[in-house]
Symmetry: C2
Subunit: 358 residues, 2 copies
């Protein structure tokens, strides 16, 4: 099969042996696979990624010295069954799956494995028990957005949202946009979102942000404070404690050093900061800010199976407007150039790889 391969820290297109489905596994044609910011990270910082995975006791770790076919945001079509499958779905069925392969000898992370290919190749093997059929009428391209959108739902679930919370989303790349969509679905309001890019701020509004802020023009934290004032007549706080504000729930969706500390500086007392952006570098912070304000930092990763499934059905039901997020399409030959383009936030949100495209 044809695939875009990460080889010696570069992306190359090559012909690889077709994967063979093992017990309980299906062979699928990759119909569409989104390019994730984590893949850009992985290409640039493979060693750090592996080091962090080892330190974190991750259940699967790739070896960047060997080939990896990345791609973990996919929609695919069943073409064959391995031994022992239940075959509750038929050949030709369109499916999504969490990017995990459940093998008795250990988990494989689809898209970050040396042993099984991800969605930047024409074929993959998936665990039958993780398959979710794409509902009739939902386009393949939209179904492929399930994985990144599920990340947003999980972050919001971990945030333990309360009705009085006022969210602030820092960074409106695909992760921030997924968080905004999930916040909107949960009824959070008003949602404040900040990004330097006008295109991303426009997308943030499309996904449900009520107030968008250009950090170059004004402080997102000040904008948050303005909308976090309770409505109606609120008695002044005694003892000069400043204005009463609704609780702050901040989402870090940038993932570069310095942002967590900046958010801790900008946060109101008792704010909860959910860290969704994956910063690969060491980061400096001032714990005393956390102490003095009794902040919390909740780091999050991925999603639970039920969140992944709920996201697919939310997209199918039209509750998440994913179409505007898709800003490009490429075949396997175009993945390398797409990685370069994605470094320009003004131009793109999500580029889909369609490996069978000529």
């Amino acid at each position: 099969m044809r695939a875009t391969v990460m080889r010696n820290r570069k992306l190359v297109v090559d012909t690889l042996p077709d994967p063979k489905p093992g017990a309980g596994e299906v062979l699928v044609k990759t119909l569409a696979c989104g390019i994730c910011g984590s893949d850009l990270h992985a290409l640039q910082h493979a060693d750090r990624l592996v080091e962090a995975a080892i330190e974190s006791g991750a259940p699967f770790i790739m070896d960047p010295k060997r080939d990896v076919v990345m791609g973990h945001e996919f929609c695919a079509e069943i073409v064959d069954f391995g031994p022992g499958c239940q075959r509750s779905l038929e050949e030709g069925a369109r499916v999504c799956s969490m990017p995990l392969l459940l093998r008795s000898e250990g988990l494989q992370g689809i898209g970050y494995s040396n042993d099984v290919p991800g969605g930047y190749g024409e074929l993959m093997v998936l665990s039958e028990m993780l398959l979710l059929q794409v509902p009739n009428g939902l386009s393949t391209r939209h179904a492929a957005l399930t994985e990144p959108m599920a990340v947003g739902l999980h972050a919001v679930e971990k945030a333990r949202l309360a009705p009085e919370d006022v969210p602030l989303v820092i960074g409106c790349g695909p992760v921030g946009l997924a968080v905004i969509a999930a916040l909107k679905l949960k009824g959070a309001a008003p949602i404040v979102a900040a990004d330097f890019s006008p295109a991303r701020r426009a997308l943030a509004e499309t996904l449900g942000a009520d107030v968008v802020v250009d950090p170059a023009a004004g402080s997102p934290y000040r904008s948050w404070q303005e909308v976090a004032k309770p409505s109606g007549d609120v008695p002044p706080m005694p003892f000069a404690l400043g204005p009463a504000l609704r609780p702050g729930i901040f989402f870090e969706c940038v993932g570069v050093p310095g942002v967590i500390d900046q958010m801790m500086k900008g946060a109101p007392r008792a704010a909860r900061i959910v860290v969704v952006g994956a910063c690969m570098e060491p980061d400096l912070m001032h714990p005393i800010l956390g102490i003095n304000k009794e902040l919390s930092l909740q780091f999050v990763l991925g999603y639970e199976p039920h969140e992944f499934a709920a996201t697919l059905f939310d997209i199918a039901a039209g509750r998440i407007p994913v179409e505007p997020l898709i800003t490009g399409d490429v075949g396997v030959e175009g993945v390398g150039a797409a990685f370069e383009e994605l470094r320009q936030p003004e131009k793109h949100a999500k580029i889909l790889v369609e490996p069978w495209r000529s």
Copy 2:
């Protein structure tokens, strides 16, 4: 009155004007006041403390260029009443209070104020509405331990302890010991605690630690893992995910740079880290460890009024063995030397200042 004064970054003994109780305030004789690690910090790093207070929007901020009488862990005796007091307690009553003075023009932090003295002086003014009478039969010296012990209770409350949680306390100074006492009161078990000092490890056991670890001899995180294995027959985790462990609730009670990151490295998946130690310096951490393990960091400060009151009554009821924590007593002349001695963890836990002592 005689008092130990922080003046030009030094502790000096001086005679100051007696404080005058304002409306709703009582004048008290300080009977005993503990020396807190925060006071040692404040003397060494006054500028950083003030800078952090400003950045955090703290409701009261001292000016280290002016005199400060520190001391916020006190038991005192009512000697006079300001105008407008309810006088529900009588002259001569022994009282504790949260170290706050509620004034209409703003809060004053007793012990970190330029305007009102703390417990390292013979006299203080307190807000009548915050007074808690010391129960009959409870010694003044033990009652003075209410404030530092309440810090532990608050940290444990913020931890949202569940019965299956296994706590690990890193650092067994007064803060760590207060956390251990509160964990014991809440029924957490087994409690693992680590400190380099044999004397502090012995105190940790007295306060309720079940397993104490010398980090110089072995990893506290390994010791934690050993006791966090669920008892009885537990099915092995599928897909080589490693052993199932009970949830980890870790308490950072050291407050120096590097400890948070070390705890994030040592923590199991989904551990909650409660940061009680007040690190005044910038600190380096690796966010990707937090992400990969979905850790949370909850920074905590102080206590709520009901936690402060509960702690006084827990001490009075003999549920917190505070006597072994008191390792020294000094008058105002001895505070400077006591600060020096407290830098040696082997020798001391809590030194009480008794300002009227000759």
